[in-house]
């Protein structure tokens, strides 16, 4: 049954059916009562930790709501909502960390779990070689909400399903399109942090990841091509679905997926690249965002995500890129996925340079990292992806500043004799020290004598981070700046998933190595 018929049937059969209120909504109606409950639990946990010998303790009592809808062609594959509620306690005992968490949120349980955390810290402290020290932070009481206009959890399911199926229908009407998938995922984090130093911080965050992927299959030749959406995840509410041109984009995606089947395979070699923000954000993430994580540079991530080609002694000295390149870290950009008021240490959100005029200048830090390079304060990068995860250093939003002139994309293209214009992120891979990378994309356009000449395919660009950023010879202006990002940035042991945004203008890079990624199976 197609969607329109369903709505008619539903209105008679179901009437004004509404979702039963969540436990949270019922609790939220008595907000003061909720705050009192959490504060009492925090007091029980922190007091217990102190009595047991912790020199520092904090407790996060967090609730996460998520909703996802996945569709393909004209069917809904799944509609799911989940909520996840629990607490995690961190303690410092004799200079060693201990952490424990539970989904049973009661006073008896927080006291028991505080004991578990202290036992873990004490067992490890016996063998600890270097004591943890924390950079100071002022204690604060605060309540904050992220900048959204429409809470997606208040939007009827019907509306969301109708929009996704409408996008699919647009794609499927295009001759040559064989399949389409579309989805929406929404997350609400309700954070409560209390520290033994006196901070009490509540934060309410909303973020969403709508996306689609169109596939065109040539059954005769066995070839297939895809084109994924350019609109990326953002810390926005449902207004994102209403204000971004999703319908126009899916039509363009359908046309381009079909066109890719006939596009010209790229000849490997060196090209000038003009890279759109919908692709460049990922290169920034991998080569700039991760290389400037101080814990990586101190070899704390050596067993998993790796280290960095940057070392502490290079701050202020190493040439990272051309003098045009200014890379900014922040947790304040309005719709940034990593934007908060306070991190999980209670450090206020800030903005600072990582690369200035092409020179590497600074790091991402937390309260326990900052003292290791002689800093007196933290930049506020501590984060955990769940109440049950140990907070550790996570990437803030990391962005490339636009050029001083408002140079357009066309003007960047006009300065290229032989090159490729790249849109959308594709495959990605970078080595464990963030030197050698290779990135694909969604669509590739040949540039010839300053003009876009035709579609190409099977393109990936490969370079070395400082060579790449050193080859940047022009930046788009403010009007080309866009924010994109990731819902699934992996790091840490045990592994955690971070969310992070990257803003950038379009930019031009000279003489970058380009591969043809196609492999014949015959």
């Amino acid at each position: 049954m197609i969607r329109r018929e369903f709505l008619k049937a539903a209105s008679t059969a179901v009437g004004a059916a509404t979702l039963a209120p969540w436990l949270l909504e019922r609790e939220a109606a008595a907000a003061a009562e909720v705050d009192a409950v959490k504060s009492a639990l925090a007091e029980a946990a922190l007091t217990r930790a102190r009595v047991l010998g912790a020199s520092y303790a904090d407790i996060r009592i967090n609730r996460y709501r998520s909703e996802s809808i996945t569709t393909r062609e004209q069917q809904v594959q799944n509609v799911a909502r989940s909520q996840d509620f629990g607490f995690g306690i961190r303690v410092l005992v004799n200079g060693a960390w201990g952490f424990a968490a539970s989904s049973v949120v009661t006073a008896d349980e927080v006291r028991r779990v505080a004991q578990v955390a202290v036992d873990i810290a004490r067992a490890n402290a016996a063998f600890q070689r270097k004591r943890v020290t924390l950079a100071p932070v002022d204690s604060v009481t605060a309540n904050w909400k992220s900048a959204f206009e429409k809470d997606p959890f208040d939007v009827p399911l019907d509306d969301k399903i109708e929009l996704l199926l409408a996008l699919n229908a647009i794609a499927m009407k295009t001759t040559g399109v064989s399949f389409v998938n579309s989805s929406m995922a929404w997350v609400n984090e309700q954070r409560f942090l209390a520290t033994s130093e006196g901070s009490r911080i509540e934060q309410y965050l909303i973020r969403g990841q709508p996306q689609f992927n169109v596939t065109a299959v040539n059954r005769e030749s066995g070839d297939f091509q895809t084109r994924r959406s350019f609109g990326g995840p953002q810390a926005r509410g449902y207004e994102y679905m209403e204000k971004y041109p999703w319908k126009a984009e899916v039509q363009q995606a359908a046309d381009e997926a079909v066109a890719k089947l006939k596009a010209t395979p790229v000849e490997p070699g060196r090209y000038d690249l003009v890279i759109h923000p919908t692709n460049l954000w990922l290169t920034i993430h991998e080569s700039c965002g991760h290389s400037t994580e101080l814990d990586r540079a101190l070899w704390w991530e050596a067993d998993y995500a790796g280290t960095s080609f940057l070392t502490p002694d290079q701050a202020g000295k190493l040439r990272f890129g051309s003098p045009l390149v200014n890379i900014v870290a922040d947790r304040v950009q309005t719709t940034g996925l990593a934007t908060v008021a306070y991190d999980d240490d209670g450090v206020p959100a800030q903005r600072w340079y990582l690369v200035k005029d092409g020179i590497f200048v600074d790091w991402q830090t937390t309260r326990d990292l900052a003292p290791l390079i002689g800093r007196k304060t933290s930049y506020g990068c501590l984060n955990a992806d769940s109440w049950g995860s140990v907070p550790f250093a996570r990437m803030p939003n990391v962005s490339l500043e636009p050029g001083a002139q408002d140079t357009s994309l066309d003007e960047l293209v006009a300065g290229v004799e032989k090159g490729i214009l790249i849109y959308g992120d594709g495959s990605w891979s970078i080595d464990q020290q963030r030197y050698n990378f290779q990135f694909g994309g969604q669509t590739f356009w040949e540039i010839s004598k300053g003009k876009v000449a035709g579609m190409m395919r099977d393109v990936a660009y490969q370079s070395r981070s400082t060579d790449f950023w050193g080859a940047c010879d022009a930046l788009g202006g403010r009007s080309t700046y866009q924010l994109n990002g990731s819902f699934v940035d992996g790091k840490g042991e045990p592994g955690q998933v971070g969310v992070v945004s990257h803003g950038c203008p379009a930019a031009r890079f000279r003489q970058i190595n380009v591969l043809n990624t196609s492999v014949s199976m015959t």
């Binding site: 539970s102 989904s103 490890n124 070689r129």
Partner: protein, 447 residues
Amino acid sequence: MLLTEAASREITRKVLGSVTADDAVVTVDSLDYSHLRFAANTFLTSGRREGVSVRVTTWIGRRRGSASTTDVSDAALKQAVEDAQAFAKLSPIDVEYLPSLSQQTYKPGGGYVDATARVDLPARARQISEAIAQSEKVKVVGAGFHQARLTARASATAHGNFHYERESLVGLGMTARTPDGAGSGYFSRNHFDVARLDTARIAREAIRRASDSRGARMLPAGAYPVILEAQAVADLLDSGGMSFDARNADEGRSVFSLPGGATRVGTRLFDPRVNIVSDPWRPELSKFTAADDGLPAQTMYLVRNGMVESLRYTRFWAQQKNRQPSGPLALILEPSTPGVSVDEMIRTAKRALLVTRFFYIRTVDPRSASVTGLTRDGVWYVEDGEIKYPVRNFRFNQSIVLMLGPGNVDQIGVPERVASSEGGIDPLLVPALRLNAFNFTSQSDAV
């Protein structure tokens, strides 16, 4: 808190007891997880997490809705059911709906050992401290991760099926680096039986490889014969670059699709000695034997003697194609001929690069199951039967299918239990491989 079978069953009884929908599936997952992380020769973080998660999926008039909760109070469970049923009423008809399973027959797995459930905190701290002491003794810098995980899963359906099983797992991975950053080595193993986890061996291997990787030389990019240790093979096979999903193949969007609409089932795509089997009961593997909807696993050959024998079917797609549904996969790559040790592969190699592991593997072209990634933590040049010197890292671009194809596989080792080194914990059984060609497409400065 790991739920017993009785406690899990009680939760499913309560949930199904409040369901008024036409059909329902409930899963109850419980977890007890602890870890100790160390780096720069010191302890970093250490913690323990316990939790329960209940998910209920309901169908009303073939319309599906799903909700989950971590609160197992009666009120919260009832609320989850109400939410799932409310979503179902608002959803369109699920055209791929199949009735939930009636009582199935399960062959028990063997992957739970009580002793693993009782990892002693001071003993673990001491073991890690000893690994760090070994690093300090030979002047390398150790980093690593010890984890112990107990999971229990129960699923029940409105049509009377119930299944419960639990799994224990303990593992240690370690990376050792020379202080000048010029050498790095890695080793990792896990097991469901803590008595089978040799933490001293893991530390020894990581430290040895770090020391042996000092003074690495840069070689030009190109296609090289390689000896891939089991870790490197596990990294490739677990990367997702080669999917055995039947529906994708039938829809023409897989490496197993053929022009004209057929699939490669029945074709010899791989070397005749290559077998890829799914068997969660293999003693060294011992993985979960049912999917979270209760569908039992089965032993099945995906590739037999190089021939693509079967692909993986969901219940819906199996019904569409008149095939058996597959259940969860537990992958084993094993040879048809006796396996050869890595030492033997080295001894009989004229020229090869010995590779410890791969990193950051991502799909580049699904039409050929081509992936890109990098070597890491140990590459050595082998010539005339001897390891000659360490080599700097490379980026590769390689089709997994062509890598295992006829004419490219030289020797196959004895399968061993290894998990992917990129954050993986679930093991595979894979051997080392000696291959005639592997494509290294650029050099990497990274150590």
